[in-house]
Symmetry: D2
Subunit: 318 residues, 4 copies
């Protein structure tokens, strides 16, 4: 008889197939090792898995240092309730150009590539293959596999370097990305849970709508942060989608909701905005300690509350 | 045997002698009727009475609509601990020119007057008595009494109209003030007590020092109010006194410390400023209801706190 | 003998082939009628045509009401010198699902679609064809043509309604877009020229970099507009691309550079920012007259300059 | 025959009689040496002399480091047109207590003093002569002379130390001022002239009214300075005088109207405010060089104008 308690297996959704940058991001999650990894075809499917309970968490790309915010991810997080970001991961983005076994660069005229990957190799392509045509693919790995299978008519594909370990492909060129420091930022998303404990190197992600379209509404929103010494590492606008000119804002702010100054800023935002979605407070991938002026430290907030309590009860107001 | 409980007599200090505008202000206080009124010679003495316990409260002038803030009052409130403003009163300021019985305007060459009163009659004096000389007095009533007694060499005095009821004086001219709508604002000051209940028509008085002398410190201070929809009815600067160019600010803000938005602004000020003196929240003399945008109402603050509590505990952040 | 002067033929580049939304935008340009229309495959090619002189102007999509800013366009305008926006055009975005002649909706399993078009039909697709797979295409028209040709393996395509006039396709479903009010905004770009005259209903497009990464830099930038009564209709961030967390901002501001307040705001921006790209002032597609507080009108600026000139020369300063 | 051209004698008004702090300020003006010095009895008379042409300039006290702004001076400058500040001077403020020849401190019960001087000796008086009474005087020298003459009933007077050189008085106590670093700031006022050349250590004095009584009007005014890197050394409010709660602001700003950033701030103020009185740009008494961020230097303004001119004419906007 075996009295050992079995840990239930956890399931993680990610943009597949094996070999994608998303898989590389998931590989950075210690808790995910040895668990069930579920490849999906797009971000919506990944988040649906989480909401429906098919998966415990999903790894999704949220921003690329060259191409910018991943708009489908930002829009999905803005509109799907019940989700929370619990971790952040960075994956360096390198690209190779691959062909079928035996191919040479001179043979290439049609290139399959995910549009984001394609956009990051434009300089190299313009110099090395000025006459090429582009066939878009749904993932960096699919581009190569379809090319191998003859689907789509491409004779080369842009792919992550790791693909060469999984498939029989001809390397035609490596390091073809325009920016050698390119990196993609991923977040791990779970169902709504309490935020993980602060580490001192945290960020807080929010989606904020502005009250109305007057010249100062965005200013007012930003002042909620500035007036508490909080730096923003990301401010992106996304159309709300009902008509041109209406936007919501995706905000990454330095610090954790358990920090007094961040909690106070969230209160200010909530009072100000018709809609604030709290996406989570979680450790930063770069582990950079958040610095802020000492007058925004927790003890200053606590002391001020004590002072206010005293003067309301009739103690001297100094 | 008499079982009646004797109410202890309360003492109120005010700038005397009888007949001053300050006495007129004190006459507006229902609780002061039939109590002990203690005339004093200056604001410092009045506030000392309160701090030392000789008086229960003091009525002091704090601002004149023509001459501006009463600087000795503002400075005393900024530096004497243990005081709190509990009420505000307005007294219309009218002046008469008086002489000895039998005198005529043509006889007047030297005029006794408190400097503030003198400053408010300059237009009339310039037109009617361009050749006069001025002898300053320590109060509006003293000016007339000294003139009657032959002290100081004046042959006329500027005085409040009520003085004619108390003393045998010749009215030489009335309504000689430059501004027929002139008014002086008084405050009733007690030892530190809990603020009176909000009435909806309240103001909050503060003394605030700025953290340092950078271009934006005052801006930052004002934003603590503006960002919570709080209007300021008074902002005056007073030298701290240690060197030129260092000021503290006297602030009257619309609303009561029991209003959520005001409490929140005070917290912001306290965190920001090296020194905030809370002088009190009390009913406005003009009984003007404080209006503010509905997004700064108490329920918005309460709702935001509930929301924050929910998302910290792991509920969906929307 | 014929003295008639021949107008030279003008060339306009646009994302082809015939039938795209971009072509519909170009059809709105009166001056382009009867001229040479040059279909190209992507935005970079279109702008290259202009810079190199192959074309006189290019029509390019810059923003979609559902999908947001067209990042390749924004990035190209930010980094390619010598371009200027001279006009703005709106095209309603409607989609149809088409198949080969004789096909039915029940036959569809693989759908070809440009990724932006695909993203705008997700609701309908999720309800009507939940099991479908997606093959990305490089344009809305190419998707249908490739499907007709059997390239890419799709058995249906998402396309603009106009395509049915040009090609023998089976209409499987119409109005499949998620938002019936969806619209795409296009701009007409020429080489650098003086701005067209103000119409009263103009906008000014800019790319602005922030001086450094302190909490208030974006606030400072926005204040350059707010403090002159200028409303922003667009504020989008785009990564500069050198490292994560560095952004430039795409700004559309209401008004024309020939308006005093806009010229003054541009001066303020230029002094503040390490890099401001002026993309142009041009008539708004919606012809909405720009309203602004009267204190920001041209005559107020002119009067203030006269006043300053007077006081520098020694005239009274009032 | 004498060909020498006679310099016309210049007349300077100052608060007399000889021995006042104002005379000490006038003694700091090199151009005033050997000219005609005209003692007057108050600030209004001094400024009237200038406006009417009786004097070329007037020296007037504008601020005391302990007592604050001299409100009569501030109000006169705000309302009398045709004046301009051309210089600033600082006089250390020390006080002595004097009596009639042969008197001792023990004899003193009534003290004559100008109210501002009296206010600066309260600590010493409270400790050394707690039982004294105060008789106000119109100047620091008049207090002593009246006491000598037996006018006003005082048996001692507070006076500047220099008075002992002019009059036969008994020194009863010296250094009786509460603040050994007390200083009074004076300005030299002429009829409106072009500002003196910048020295790099200048200040600019203004009187500004706010457009209306909304929470942000003062904020908007201060931003005109902050957004151009201009520090304020003085911000004082003065009642406009028509009703309680309406103020104008007295502003001293670091820099000269010939500095681009200051001229630009004045333009912004003028556009914003219903009333701006330019009182002058003049060298600071403390000769402190004005420091400001380099991005507000003149060349940045000039460069921005060149850039704007270029893009309006059709040059590339970068």
């Amino acid at each position: 008889m075996n009295s050992r308690v079995e840990e239930p297996v956890r399931t993680y959704s990610y943009l597949g197939p094996a070999g994608t940058f998303t898989e590389a991001a998931l590989a950075q999650v210690p808790e995910a090792r040895g668990q069930n990894w579920r490849p999906v075809r797009n971000v919506g499917e990944a988040l649906d898995d989480v909401v429906s309970g098919r998966s415990d968490a999903a790894m999704i790309a949220i921003e690329n240092s060259v191409d910018g915010g991943v708009s489908t991810t930002q829009d999905a997080l803005a509109t799907m309730p019940g989700l929370r970001i619990v971790g952040e991961y960075l994956v360096p983005v390198q690209f190779v150009l691959v062909g079928k076994p035996g191919a040479t660069l001179a043979d290439v005229s049609v290139i399959a590539a995910h549009p984001v990957a394609y956009a990051q190799c434009l300089i190299w392509l313009g110099q090395s293959l000025p006459e090429h045509a582009h066939v878009p693919s749904s993932s960096n790995v699919t581009a190569a596999l379809d090319m191998l299978d003859g689907v789509g008519g491409a004779d080369a594909a842009i792919a992550p370097p790791g693909i060469l370990e999984h498939h029989d492909l001809q390397l035609l060129a490596d390091n073809i990305g325009d920016n050698p420091k390119a990196v993609t930022r991923f977040v791990l998303v779970s169902r709504t849970v309490a935020p993980p404990s602060p580490t001192g190197a945290d960020k807080t992600s929010l989606i904020v709508e502005l009250p109305d379209d007057h010249p100062g509404a965005l200013l007012d929103m930003l002042e909620q942060f500035a007036t508490r010494g909080i730096n923003l590492s990301l401010l992106a606008s996304r159309p709300i989608g009902d008509e041109l000119g209406r936007y919501r804002f995706v905000v990454d702010a330095d610090g954790h909701v358990f920090d007094e100054r961040m909690a106070d800023a969230l209160l200010g935002l909530r009072r100000f905005s018709p809609q604030v979605v709290f996406l989570g407070s979680y450790p930063r991938a770069d582990h950079a300690i958040v610095h802020y002026p000492s007058r925004y430290s927790d003890d200053v907030f606590v002391e001020a509350r004590d002072w206010l309590r005293g003067l309301i009860s009739g103690e001297p107001g100094e």
